[in-house]
Symmetry: C2
């Protein structure tokens, strides 16, 4: 597959882009036209849907940025990596996830299945 | 989906069965008829192929048994879990892996993509 590091960086950059217009462009660079994302609580299918999904997540976790938190493991067209967000004084809610992606021939992501490794404790 | 714990136990039981006839039966209980497994070094498609793949792995790691080494995380039809094998005086080669599976409606596994988290050091 194309450079997995670049694929993952493009993906995390899209999740982290606060500007709506740039984010939509980055989504189109990260995912194929029919690209998908699904985890327990959110889902996106295609660029508009994925962009709206990320916008909702950004509003839910204001100021959070995803940082790569693992090696990038690949075989065949598959890639696995973990990320963390928050856990800082500015963004105390700490989140950790592992994403399992399938990469298309053009180096964009065809599908992502996300699993949450750590999530904020429910409000008391 | 059907009980994910049962799905994973059936799957690990198939990997661990030393008797060829019983292993073939357990493979058919664990995977759908067109079920697949793929990791960096091995691949199986359908029951005969999956059974032969497991037999080869058993011969490569004699006496090793896979033990569940994580929670079993599921959402939609997806399941993620990690396993360990070896690391004992009888089977010193230690292996750890994480499997991502898709579960079919009948509770059997449709596909598994495996990633190695720890593998034996190459012989000096």
């Amino acid at each position: 597959m194309s450079n997995a590091n670049e694929v993952v960086v493009r993906y995390l950059t899209a999740w982290n882009e606060p500007d709506a217009k740039r984010r939509r462009e980055l989504v189109a660079k990260a995912w194929t036209d029919d690209g998908t994302y699904v985890d327990r609580v959110r889902e996106g299918n295609g660029h508009d849907s994925l962009d709206a999904m990320i916008a909702t997540a950004q509003n839910h976790f204001p100021g959070h940025r995803l940082h790569l938190a693992s090696g990038i493991e690949t075989h065949h067209d598959y890639v696995r990596f973990s990320w963390v967000a928050g856990g800082t004084s500015e963004t105390p809610l700490y989140i950790k996830g592992t994403d399992f992606a399938i990469i298309a021939a053009d180096g964009r992501i065809k599908s992502v299945v996300g699993f949450v490794d750590a999530a904020p404790a429910p409000a008391a």
